[in-house]
């Protein structure tokens, strides 16, 4: 079975999309240089030409707005923002324009754009290079938000995003770039809005996003050794999220831990918890626990970073608490 890293899988999706569909093009900062994108875009400019693979000036607003204009008029652009933080300079075209466009014009005009942004935290980079802002965008109707956690999803979700016809935010995680896994060779899609059941279990449901899915599996192994059978769901799409998969799992286990490496307040985990409580209250045998970042910007000093970031250990603690 062929294994690729997460970054290689992203690259393969780009390459196949560019090869398959002349409407696809790529624009953003650092797409000619491995500094920003790691191997995830390596040499695409050499393979497909710099007319279709464009390294841009430091102009997030203009490149994103232009991609939206190009999408409306028949192209299938992928905009690249090497850090999610930089993408905030493009929030007007994303939220005010792209998200609203189909609705505004009664479905006559659509915006088939993919906006890729990398979450790249840690390493003493500080508050403005560390933000995981999925909840901000998931709040907005008209946008879809995907967060692949595995190499095969990294490929399949990008392809599905380009083919979706809506503005899709594709958030990949630098912490996952070296993870390896089986990636099918053809151009295939992982459907948007569909979660993956990564591990079946009967005692507790752990719903996770992005890198926390891998942490949850690590946590499940630790818990297994302690006699706890955890079910792990990788959400994959944050907006719209897969209620059916989450509901059927919680219906079975009666206990829920949600892990999302973003701020606690007003986040994805709050949304899932509120929905589960609202619709499945009677199935719950314990309060829901959220494993998220504290409500503070990211500190730089590694000492504080260690206290700030969350991982498998925190999930183990949370699971043991809901089981008590």
């Amino acid at each position: 079975m062929r294994e690729l890293t997460y970054a290689q899988a992203i690259r393969e999706a780009h390459a196949q999309l560019l090869a398959e569909d002349p409407r696809v093009f790529l624009i953003g900062q650092g797409v000619w240089n491995p500094w920003y994108a790691g191997t995830s875009l390596q040499d695409l400019d050499k393979e497909f030409g710099r007319a279709r693979v464009m390294d841009s000036p430091v102009s997030e607003n203009a490149t994103t707005g232009a991609a939206i204009g190009a999408a409306i008029t028949g192209m299938r652009p992928i905009v690249f923002h090497p850090r999610m933080d930089f993408m905030l300079l493009a929030v007007d075209p994303i939220i005010n324009q792209a998200a609203n466009w189909s609705y505004l014009f009664a479905g006559q005009v659509s915006v088939p754009v993919v906006i890729r942004a990398v979450i790249n935290r840690g390493g003493e980079q500080g508050a403005q290079h560390s933000q995981a802002l999925q909840a901000l965008f998931a709040h907005v109707p008209g946008l879809k938000v995907v967060m692949p956690a595995t190499p095969s999803d990294a490929k399949g979700l990008l392809i599905a995003a380009v083919n979706d016809g809506n503005p899709v935010l594709y958030l990949d995680d630098r912490w996952l770039y070296e993870r390896r896994g089986y990636v099918p060779e053809p151009l295939y899609q992982v459907p948007l809005g569909k979660a993956a059941l990564r591990r079946s279990g009967k005692d507790v449901t752990v719903v996770a996003t992005s890198c926390m899915a891998a942490e949850s599996l690590d946590a499940a192994r630790v818990l297994e050794a302690r006699g706890v059978d955890a079910e792990v769901i990788d959400l994959r799409t944050i907006k719209p999220w897969d209620r059916d998969t989450v509901f059927s799992s919680v219906g079975k286990t009666g206990r829920l831990v949600i892990a999302d490496a973003a701020w606690l307040s007003g986040g994805i985990a709050a949304e899932i918890a509120a929905t589960v409580v609202g619709e499945l209250f009677h199935a719950l045998q314990a309060p829901i626990i959220r494993v998220c970042l504290p409500d503070a910007p990211a500190p730089s000093s590694s000492f504080l970073e260690q206290a700030y970031y969350i991982g498998a250990d925190d999930i183990v603690v949370a699971v043991e608490k809901v089981l008590r």
Partner: protein, 334 residues
Amino acid sequence: MHLQDGGTRRLSSERLTLFLYEMLRIRATEERIGQLVESREIKTPCHLSIGQEAIPVGVCAALRQDDTVWGGHRSHGHYLAKGGDLNAMMAEVFGKATGCAGGRGGSMHLAAPAQGIFGTVPLVAATIPMAVGAALSAKLRGTDEVAVAFFGDGATDEGHFHESLNLAALYRLPVLFVCENNLYSTHMMLNERRVKDNIVESAALHGFPGLVVDGNDAVAVYQATYQAMERARTGEGPTLLECRTYRWRGHVGPALDLEVGQNRQQDLAEWMQKDPIMRLRERLREEGLSDADFSEIERRIADEVDAAVNFARRSPYPDESDLLHHVYVSRRGA
């Protein structure tokens, strides 16, 4: 040991020696930071301004303490030239509690409010409009303080730059825009990002003066700033200085990034011949600065830098309990 005095036209040998001292101090500090990055004692991303020292020093020499400076990711020089404390900066780069941001910021987040440095941040162009705001504030408060925005040529790619120029022109604000044009924005050279090498023309489009300055000549930078300060303080509004220079080191850390750009190896060799420090040293040699005087300055600076590194090494890490402090201020402003 600070230069800023509101500027005087005359530059005595003593003042020029101070310029030299300040430039050498920035370089020695950054070279040491580079070594510490290489030995992995420092982990935070550090962007070095080696080769560009004449700009912060020339500009800040024409400023007063109450003038404000606003910078970005490459701001060690701005911080030091404006009077920031070397120990506090070094400790910040080490991520220590005694750092100028309590260790929560690192190299890209320097602050020294008493010296008019209210914060530098890495988002490109972010502080340009904030400098305009500081100038607006000075005007509304009825002071003659000036705000200085330091930014690179890359920052002129952003809308923030163009909008800020218009706003400053429209309200005739006392702001000095200093573009440190080192020809690079990370891996991209100016000619890969712009059709014309004409950043300075942005000023004329908004009806205020823009000057191209030799950014490796501290005296030329000082004189241009001095004139801009007079304009700003007398209510005539903004000025743009495009200071031409070259970044000796790579985008981040001490490496040379020779693989980046078109002719970097050759360009670098040429620009190193235009070393702003050697240039001023030559001039001062003619005015009587001996090699012994020069060595004495270097020795003093080496001691200062050693002391700062020792201070940083000895300082404690921030306490875990500090993690949630300062998300909000705890006290209402007066």
